[in-house]
Each structure stands twice: as C-alpha cells, then as structure tokens.
C-alpha cells in the first residue's frame, strides 16, 4: 500500500512538470498585451516598456521559464500583474469559495444521485424507473449556464417575497460580517504557514461559522450556496444516479444476492446490506472523477452567481492576460486534481478487499 502510494506520487511528478510546461506555454502564446490589460487602455509605450522590464517580460521566453520553474520549486508563485499581490494570497482568498461550492455541489450530487439511482434500480422498468432516468438524462443535458440563469430568475424574482426566495448572487448578504478566525481567537500575531492555514479555514465561511458558533453566518452562507450548488451539481447528480442504477442492477443479479434472498432475508435488507455496499464501489470512482467536471462547471457557475472563486479568477486572468495568476492557479488546481484521483483510487482499494494495489 505504502509502496503504491509512493509510486503514484512519483508518477505524478512528470505529470506535474508537464502541467507546468503546458500552462507556461499556453500563457505565453495567448495573444494580447499584459501591460495594457493591467494598466488600462491609455498606457503609453514608454510606460509599457518599463512595465515589461519590471515583470521580466522583456527576457527571452526560455529565461522566463527557468526563472519561473525555479521560483515555483521554492514555493513562490509570483505576484499577480493585475492585483500586484502574491498569487498564494489570492488563492487563500479565492480557493475557499470554490471549495465550498464544489463540496456542497458534490454532497447534493452524491446524496440525490445515489437515492435516485437506488430507487430506480429497485423499481426497475416501473414508471418510477422511467421517470428517474428521464430526470437523470435531462440533468446531463442542461447546460449549467441555462440552468443557472433559470434558477436566478425563478428564485430571486418570481418567488420574491415568498419563503422560497433565495439570493441570486454573491456569497453573503451585505452587512453580514465574517470575523476572521485569527481575530476571533486572538491569534493576529500568528504568522507563517499556520497563519496561512488558519486564514484559509477562516475564509471557508461554513467552517468559520461552525467554529465560531455563528448561526446567522451559517444560515446566510447556506442560503447563498443552495442555487449555485444545485445548478453545478445537477450534471454529476445525473451521472451518479445512472451509475448507481446500473451498478446496483449488476450486483442484484449476482449469486450471493440470490442466496441471501433464498435464505429469506428481507428485500429491504438485501438491497441495503448486501447490494448497496458493493454497488457503491464504482459510484465512488464516479464521484471522485466528477470533481474535474465540477471544477470546470465552477467557471460558469461562479460567473452566473457572481462568486469570487478560482474558476472566475482564472477566466478573468485569461481575459486580463495575467500570466502569473493563470500559471499559479492552474498548477494548484492540477495538484488538487492529482491528489483527489489518488485518494479515490486508495479509497477504492480500502472499500474492496479484492483489489490489491501494487
């Protein structure tokens, strides 16, 4: 097991290096001028020359690349061109938003996907099954941006004034304050990596609300998260429902289930104790793999619901030619993605004793 993990980690090094190279090349060959993107349309040539010197953009590309790889290897992701602040700091502010969004979307997708899939499998070929599968197929067929616009219209405008009304955008209602954990716990003098971790956790509003027992913050956060999480989670929910259905149908046709039934075990227990446990194995993989889809979808969801997460940060950085942000954020996302895949594979092995990792 340990050897497997080490091997996988080693294997991910060339992948990561490939990511760094690819993203660096992509960032450089994007047409456009970072100077005028950052400084406005009326910046003169003289100003832009000075700007390029300051950011090393006047150096030959290979030199820029080596400098960059050196910096990344020592943990420095550089300073954003547009914001003039370290990329790591921007990540501490923006990653929690995307994290919160994708986790809620994943929870929605997993819970409802598994429930629907199970229902559908148990009632195979019944109207419920057909209806569920239609919903599931509809789910994968609706673009996030159509669903998002529709939700915003329905819940914020049509249902305005009813208990069902939900905020159409943003993370919190103006006026709801988030007290940084560092301040709440009197740790403002804390520095270094622990402080970064603390600030990161503090920026995850849900964690912050729970740790500081701030009920109104928790409620407001959840209310703002419902629409984007559902819009984002619909496609993975549909995929998970289909996977659960077919996987459960597979398992329910196996001999040991027949044995259990023959022994007179109640059908409900057959499904719950014998069927689901084994049927969930492939579902776990699908849940893990849908994280990539969620991060992609987050780009559009964050745009439509006006959330300042990393998806929108990267698209804005691409539009604004902020190479440094593009590079830094994409590398971090790739690392997260690689780690998640590893975790999925390992959990797969833990769940299924038949699989031995070598």
């Amino acid at each position: 097991m340990t050897r497997y993990i080490i091997r996988r980690l080693l294997l991910s090094i060339p992948v990561l290096l490939g990511v760094v190279i690819l993203v660096f090349i992509l960032a450089r060959i994007i047409p456009g001028d970072p100077c005028r993107a950052a400084l406005g349309e009326r910046a003169t040539d003289a100003i832009c020359n000075a700007f390029n010197v300051r950011y090393g953009l006047d150096q030959p590309i290979p030199v820029q690349f080596l400098t960059y790889v050196g910096n990344v290897a020592t943990g420095d992701l550089g300073d954003s061109i547009r914001f003039g602040r370290p990329v790591s700091q921007i990540l501490v502010e923006r990653l929690p938003v995307t994290l919160e969004l994708t986790v809620y979307a994943l929870i929605f997708a997993a819970v409802f996907g598994i429930l629907l899939g199970r229902l559908s499998a148990i009632r195979r070929n019944s109207p419920i099954d057909v209806a569920t599968m239609v919903v599931a197929n509809l789910g994968v067929s609706i673009p996030v941006f159509v669903l998002g616009l529709f939700f915003a219209y329905l819940f914020a405008v049509v249902l305005k004034g009813t208990p069902l009304s939900l905020p159409p955008s943003g993370r919190l209602t103006p006026g709801v304050e988030v007290i940084p954990l560092a301040k709440a716990w009197g740790l403002t003098s804390l520095g270094g990596p622990p402080r970064v971790v603390l600030d990161f956790l503090s920026n995850v509003n849900t964690i912050n609300a729970v740790l500081t027992l701030n009920g109104s913050l928790l409620v407001d956060t959840l209310r703002h998260m419902i629409l984007p999480a559902v819009a984002l989670g619909t496609i993975p929910m549909a995929i998970i429902a289909r996977m659960t259905r077919s996987s459960l149908l597979d398992v329910l046709g196996l001999d040991y289930i027949r044995t259990a039934r023959a022994k007179g075990v109640r059908e409900r227990d057959v499904v719950a104790k014998h069927g689901m446990r084994n049927a969930l194995l492939p579902v776990v993989t699908v849940i893990g793999l849908s994280l990539g889809g969620l991060l992609s979808g987050a780009v559009l969801t964050e745009t439509i619901f006006n959330l300042a997460g990393i998806g929108r940060t990267i698209t804005e950085a691409i539009q604004g030619r902020d190479y440094i942000i593009i590079q830094g954020v994409v590398i971090i996302v790739a690392i997260i993605y690689i780690v998640v895949n590893l975790v999925v594979d390992i959990s797969y092995a833990l769940l299924d004793p038949r699989i031995r990792l070598t």
Binding site: A37, P174, G175, L187, V197, V204, I336, V339, V343
Partner: protein
C-alpha cells in the same frame, strides 16, 4: 513587487488543500492542531510596515515649505529637466506657506482646474505616503480627507466603507456604504429587484423600461459624455480616398442605430465631441444620411459596386458601446444594404484591439469610442487628431494646426472660433464617422433620497439616504484594482476612491462643473502659467493627521517624478499623470 521566495505560505496552502481534499475523500479529518499551530511571523505586510520614512519628518511646531523639484530646474524651452528630456507641462510646485500652494506651468492651461479636480490627483498625507507607499499597503488601505473611510475590503466580494469621524463637511446620511460588483447588467438588476442592493450602476440597455415601470425603483439617466465612432486608417486602401470616407460618413443611418440599439438618454453624434463639453459641438453638424449621394461618391471613387472589407471591434461593453456585437451586426447589414460594401465582422480581444488601434494596425473599418476624463475639448480632439494615436494613420496638418492653436486660447469663448474650424475640418476629412453619444443610467430603490447619476460616473454616496436603513449597498461593474487612485485608471476604482479622498477641486454632485474642495480657491495669473491655491484650514485625514500645503506638494510630486522613492503604486505607472500633465520628471529609460 519583489520576488522573494514565499515557500512557506504556498506549502501551507497545499497542506490545507490536502487536508480538506482528504476530508472529502473520507480518509482523514482536519486536525484541530493544524489550525492552532505554533505562531511565527509572516503574511502581514500591513502590520509590519518597514519604517523607511524619509529623514525630513516635519515636526508639528515649525512649517518648512516644500518646493519641488528641490534641486534642478525644468527648462521649458529646451524641454529638459537637469539635462534629461522632459515632455510635461508642470514646471514647479511650491508650498508658499502652510495654507498656500503655487503651480508653475510651462504652457498656459485653461483646463488646469478640470484636471486637478480629477480623482487621480487626490491629496494624501505626507507621513502616510512615507509609511505606506514603500510596502504597497496604501493600495489596500487608503487614507483621505473624504466623507468615508475604508472599513473592510473582502477581496473578490465587497468593500465596506464607514463614516470618517474626522469629516467636517455635511454629515453623511448613511453611516455605512457597501460596494459590490457584478459584470452582468441582468445580475445587477436582479440584485436590485430582489432587494439585496440599494442602487446599481449601468442599467442594461433593455432594462431601462423595466426599471422605469417598477414603482419601487427609480432610474437616473446619465448623459453620454462619450463618443462611438467608425474609424478608418487613412494609410490603407480604400480609405486613402477621401470620397470613400465621405461615402461612409453619409451612408450609415446613425439615427436608426441610436434609436434601436442605444438606451434612453443617448443621442446621435453630430460632432466628435459631445455638446456638454465647452465648444464640443460648434460649427457645421455631421452629414445627413443620404445613401444615394453616398453611392454616387463611391462610384466617383471607382467603387460603383462597393467592395469587401472588415468590420473590427472588441466585445467590451462601454458607455459608448452598450451592445458591441449587436451594433456591429447592424452596421454590417447597413453597409451591405446602403453602400453595397460587404464587411466581415472580426472580434478581437480587448487589449490586443487597443494595441492594434494605437499602432494603426486596424486596416478595415473599426468600431471604437472614447469616454471623457475631464470635461474639456483637449481631452477629446488632441488625443485623436493631433498625434495621441496612430489609429487613423497619418495626421492631417490643417487639423493639427487648428487643434494646437485652439488649445492655447485663454478662455472657452476665445477658443470657440478655432474649434469651429477643427470640427469643420474633421467633417471634411472624415478620419472617422461619429455615431453616438451613449447614455447610461444608475437605478436606485425609490426610497433612497439624494440618489443621482453623474455624467463623469462620480456618484457621491455621502448625499444619499437609504430610506430608514443605516447601510447603502451599491453594485457596480467590477472590483477596483486598488484604492490608491493616483495609480488607477478604471472608473470602478475611482468611484470608490472618491468617497474616501478629496482633491484640491472636485466636480459638483451629478455635474461636470468644478468646485473647490481642499482648496478654497485656485487663481491663475494673467498668462495662465501660474496657479495659486489657498487651502482649507482645520482639515484632518481619517487617521488624524492634519492637512497642509506640503501634503499637496508631496501628493503631486510622488506622481510627477519617476525617480522619487515614493513613485510607486499598484502598477507604478501613474498613467493619468502622464496623460493629463504630459510627462514625468526623470522618465524611465526607453
């Protein structure tokens, strides 16, 4: 902007991500120890500001007037400073005493007051500059004499402003102001309709009617101090033929475009400069729409059956360009129908497009516009037709001559005749076809007293009272880049800065006229080459320090002198200084 290694924060970040990711994967839970680990020192640029303050810390007792440049002289005739090239118009800035400042110029500048009223030239405290410029913290944490002060800036999400306790003007009506942002007009409108915000900027073109009909909302149309034009580069064929350019000028039904695709409050552009700018629309108005005459001109020029060309644009919504692709498609269809010209639409990325236009590389027809910086003709015609941009190709000597002559005039009346000539020559040569002055609007909840819109997009929150609420929430297009506005150029940053800081002059609420702010009055000498400003007394900055003449000199000096140790901001380019006052002392080597 150093590149010192930041190993630790990144690793910690990865660790956090790892922990959380692992938590989702069901393998581990975040240990509370991780969040309460041992303290160390980092990540606190603001709290550990290195004290690199210059030695000349003024004591409270004696006032030592500051003069800039302290050494060396600007030679206006030779256009040099200390032997180095200098292209600017400012010669010297002197504090005469604690309450008087004198500006010496190289050329007469009738627009001087309009320029100093621009929010980039707000006054900062000398000591604050010394303490917060070197580490860049001033970009995140401004300090001004305005009605509000920054309380909190949650990056990416919102900015909270609180009333400035040291403000001595009319008390603010909303103790707290929250500024949010959203790039989509529809989203801003939903926020307003759902009651989450009190006011929004730039109501969408199609939503003017929706807002007007809604009794709980109120629309505040904003006059369009901007111009959308169809440009042509005279160096390229067939635009080198004046008849072809005139044909385009006559062959586009501009009224149809404005009527169908621009929001209320927009007008057909009959001159390049909008009428609210003094001398903007004097002389002959533009050609009337006449497709028959236009076709005849084209035939005379040798194109009886039209020709093929490109119609270039960028997909960026601006005051002058409310619906970029839709307006481009309308012009495309008019070119075909009215003139037989087949144009293919080419959308370019925004910054590439600006680069290409400034370099004169847009070889087809191109759609571009200009929004006012300060309300004077020089802001419009000088940049476009006297050498600021190469977008239209080689300059017309007669136009350049007339513009240069007009800029020297001592008063608006004295310049009128010259601008009649300028406008007439532009109409004759047609380097571009002015299409529209695009109106826009803010919208507020009906119960917000004092709500307004400003033609310069400088809405003043201090005069607004949000019903019985204590908090005014405003949603604008984008997040400010930074809040040290000497070094910012976008309207979104400037609007927030204007609530926090003041300049010597300011613009009247909802107007374009200047009125004194930190100065009681600035008076010019007879030749308009020297401006002397008497300053307000007993003014304090938000941080408690007192405002005096040296603050004025220093606030200007750090922008003016590229070699000043405090010549630093978010981008350190101070593009508005260069744009409005011509150039820097000790400009960076090319």
């Amino acid at each position: 902007m150093s590149r010192t290694p930041r190993r630790s924060p990144l690793l910690a970040l990865l660790a956090t991500a790892g922990i959380l990711v692992a938590a989702c994967g069901g393998a581990a839970t975040p240990s509370p120890a991780a969040s309460t680990a041992a303290p160390a020192a980092a990540s606190a640029a603001a709290s550990t500001a290195p004290s690199v303050a210059p030695s000349s810390a003024p004591s409270a007792a004696a006032f030592t007037p500051m003069v800039y440049p302290a050494t060396g002289n600007v030679d206006c005739a030779a256009k040099t400073f200390d032997g180095k090239a200098y292209t600017g118009e400012v010669k010297a800035i002197k504090a005469l005493d604690a309450k008087t400042v004198e500006f010496d110029l190289c050329v007469p500048d009738v627009a001087f007051l309009s320029k100093v009223a621009f929010s980039s030239f707000a006054i900062n405290d000398t000591d604050y500059l010394a303490a917060h410029v070197p580490d860049g913290s001033i970009v995140q944490q401004p300090n001004g004499t305005g009605p509000y002060m920054l309380k909190e800036w949650v990056k990416g999400d919102h900015i909270t402003l609180a009333a400035n306790p040291n403000w001595t003007g009319t008390p603010v009506l909303a103790p707290t102001v929250v500024v949010k942002w959203s790039a989509e007009a529809a989203q801003r409108l939903v926020e307003l309709q759902s009651g989450n915000v009190d006011g929004i900027d730039n109501v969408g073109t199609t939503d003017f009617e929706t807002v007007s009909k809604d009794s709980t909302l109120k629309l505040f149309p904003r006059e369009g101090l901007n111009t959308l034009y169809i440009g042509m580069n005279v160096a390229d064929k067939p635009w080198d033929n004046e008849k072809v350019r005139q044909a385009i000028g006559m062959g586009i039904d501009r009224a149809q475009i404005v009527k169908n695709f621009f929001p209320g409050g927009s007008s057909v552009a009959d001159y390049f400069t909008p009428c609210s700018i003094p001398n903007g629309c004097v002389g002959d108005p533009w050609y009337t729409f006449d497709p028959v005459a236009a076709k005849k001109l084209l035939a005379d020029a040798g194109f009886p059956n039209g020709f093929k060309t490109k119609l270039q644009l960028r997909d960026a919504v601006r005051g002058y360009m409310p619906q970029p692709k839709i307006i481009a498609q309308e012009i495309q269809s008019q070119l075909q129908k009215n003139l037989g010209i087949t144009a293919t639409i080419e959308v370019q990325e925004s910054t590439t497009y600006i680069d290409n236009s400034d370099a004169g590389k847009l070889d087809g027809l191109f759609l571009l516009g200009w929004g006012v910086d300060y309300p004077d003709q020089t802001d419009f015609v000088d940049y476009h037709f006297a050498g600021g941009t190469k977008a239209f190709g080689p300059l017309f000597p007669d136009v350049v001559g007339a513009i240069k002559k007009a800029a020297q005039g001592a008063s608006d009346d004295a310049r009128k005749a010259d601008y009649i000539t300028v406008n007439g020559l532009i109409k004759q040569h047609v380097p571009m076809v002015p299409v529209a002055h695009g109106g826009s609007a803010t919208a507020f909840k009906a119960d917000v007293e004092g709500a307004h819109s400003s033609p310069l997009t400088s809405e003043v929150f201090a005069v607004m009272k949000p019903g019985d609420r204590t908090q005014l929430v405003f949603s604008q297009n984008a997040e400010p880049g930074g809040l040290y506005c000497a070094d910012e150029s976008d309207g979104e940053s400037l609007r927030v800065c204007e609530q926090i800081t003041q300049g010597l002059y300011g613009y009247k609420v909802a107007g374009t006229a200047v009125e004194p702010a930190l100065a009681k009055q600035c008076t010019p000498s007879a030749d308009l080459m020297t401006w002397t400003c008497d300053l307000q007394e007993n003014i304090k900055f938000a941080d408690g320090s007192t405002f005096d003449a040296n603050d004025v000199v220093q606030s200007f000096a750090v922008q003016w002198d590229a070699a000043n140790p405090l010549h630093k901001g978010r981008t350190s380019d101070f593009s508005y200084w260069a744009g409005l006052f011509g150039g820097f002392l000790n400009p960076p080597a090319q």
